[in-house]
């Protein structure tokens, strides 16, 4: 038996284990979910409101991540500033924080007794227990995914092309849309998809910072967790449906992934 053959076998075995670790739980969920009750489940008011709220919150979080994340990614990729490495590390920290701790951090910042709580209270803003709090929680944990992916795309895009466009008389705006945008588009879409998926699945920071109230802060993951207490089968089904939606969205973006 040649060494090479063994190496290959090891590689395949490890890959198969990795695949199994991902697929077996998903298969378990899909098999146990009582698909036949889908219609009944989708007619429950609490489920409908959780679905609507989840799409609104994750959509808003993705948009907010883009608005705040793009300038940051630009700064990291294109502007020479001191301490950039530290800035980059700081910006990815929310990814490693346990989400519950992220929720506490948000409370410590924007809660009634947080750093900015008194100032916010003075202008009549109380964030905890609001839909906006759910959006902020989702943005806090998911924006780093978009920022990271945008930054590397901006690093890889050839600045020279933009310079050429400018020298040919293109306005910065025009050059942005016709030169830069096409080259970062795949990474932008992939980053948006990841960011949105993370925001959609967000649980810990949301329940800690925003609470759990139907129609206001009870997103799908919270509704699933609550259903698990009383109707576990319905919770499984809702989880499986969430999975299907995510697969559809991620698959539709597969064509836009940058080539490896």
């Amino acid at each position: 038996m040649s060494l090479r053959w063994l190496q290959l076998l090891g590689l395949y075995a490890a890959a198969a284990l990795g695949l199994a670790l991902t697929l077996v739980p998903l298969a378990g969920l899909s098999i146990r979910a009582p698909w036949a009750s889908t219609l009944e489940l989708l007619q429950m008011p609490s489920v409908r409101s959780a679905i609507g709220l989840s799409f609104a919150v994750s959509g808003a979080a993705t948009l907010l991540s883009l608005l705040l994340g793009f300038p940051l990614a630009w700064l990291l990729a294109r502007v020479s500033i001191p301490g950039k490495r530290w800035l980059r590390t700081l910006l990815t920290l929310p990814l490693v924080l346990p989400p519950v701790v992220a929720g506490v951090a948000l409370l410590a910042a924007f809660g009634r007794y947080g750093l900015l709580g008194a100032s916010l209270d003075a202008v009549g803003i109380r964030l905890p227990f609001t839909t906006l709090a759910a959006v902020l929680a989702a943005t806090f944990v998911s924006a780093p995914l978009l920022i990271t992916s945008l930054e590397s795309a901006l690093l890889q895009a050839e600045v020279r092309l933009e310079q050429v466009a400018a020298s040919l008389g293109a306005s910065p705006w025009h050059s942005f849309w016709t030169v830069l945008m096409p080259s970062i588009r795949p990474a932008l879409l992939a980053g948006l998809a990841l960011c949105w998926a993370r925001a959609l699945g967000e649980f810990g920071a949301t329940i800690t910072f925003a609470g759990n109230l139907e129609g206001r802060t009870q997103t799908l993951p919270l509704a699933i967790y609550q259903l698990l207490q009383s109707r576990p089968e319905a919770a499984l089904l809702l989880g499986a449906l969430l999975l299907v939606v995510s697969v559809l969205v991620l698959a539709s973006l597969r064509g836009h992934r940058p080539a490896p």
Partner: protein, 262 residues
Amino acid sequence: MRQPDRAAGKAATLLAAALATLPLPTGCQASSGSRKPAIVVLAAASLTEVFREIGTAYESERERPVRLSFAGSQTLATQLREGVRADVVAVADPEILADLVERDLVARPRQFATSRIVWVLRRGPAGAQRRDPMDLAGSDWQLVLASPEVPAGAYARRALDALGLREAAEARVVSYELDVRGVTAKLRLAGADLGMVYATDVRPDDPDLELVELPPGVRVLAGYGAGLVREAAQPDGAVAFLDFLDGPRARQILTRAGFGTP
């Protein structure tokens, strides 16, 4: 303007308080040299402190390690239905225990303690007149309750019905928590004004929270039940722990923590 170090200290306190509410399995120290396998005890969130104390007492008396895992009673029931490995289970609702017995997941059920539902509110600034929870209907307070699926939420609903305040309360709820400790956490951390918990969830000397009894005549009692998990890996240890729970030492700990004992 707040001083930064005070703010940092506050953040650390908030973090510690939140971590304390996390449902993590916590192993008490195994006595040195003991090779006996640990007894795994699943317990309701509202039993957190008192079971840590009982666990430690059991360990030092019997030289056998106890591992505790806390969550809402309904979550514990789900875990058992899904076949989690455990030896003893203790929940905050006799009906949940009865259901587990009926499903043949738990044996030897017994009630070992009771607690009562009370209001919990944030302490106001010193000297300020204390708010009366019964004024809820005319207030703009943020109320936090346990979700009706978990025992504390079901008891709270019963209490609100008895007080004739259910509608007023539900209009002011900002969050339904999935275990009772979520209620105190939301009052402590997120600045909600009022909640309903077990009298044993907050110590009398708590700096942030105070308890207010329901008016005389409205008394909602929670019964704590424990039993032996059928599939226990350590059935002998589990039975010994249950006997200990019924014994004088555990009763003393429970009574001191404010629980009623049979």
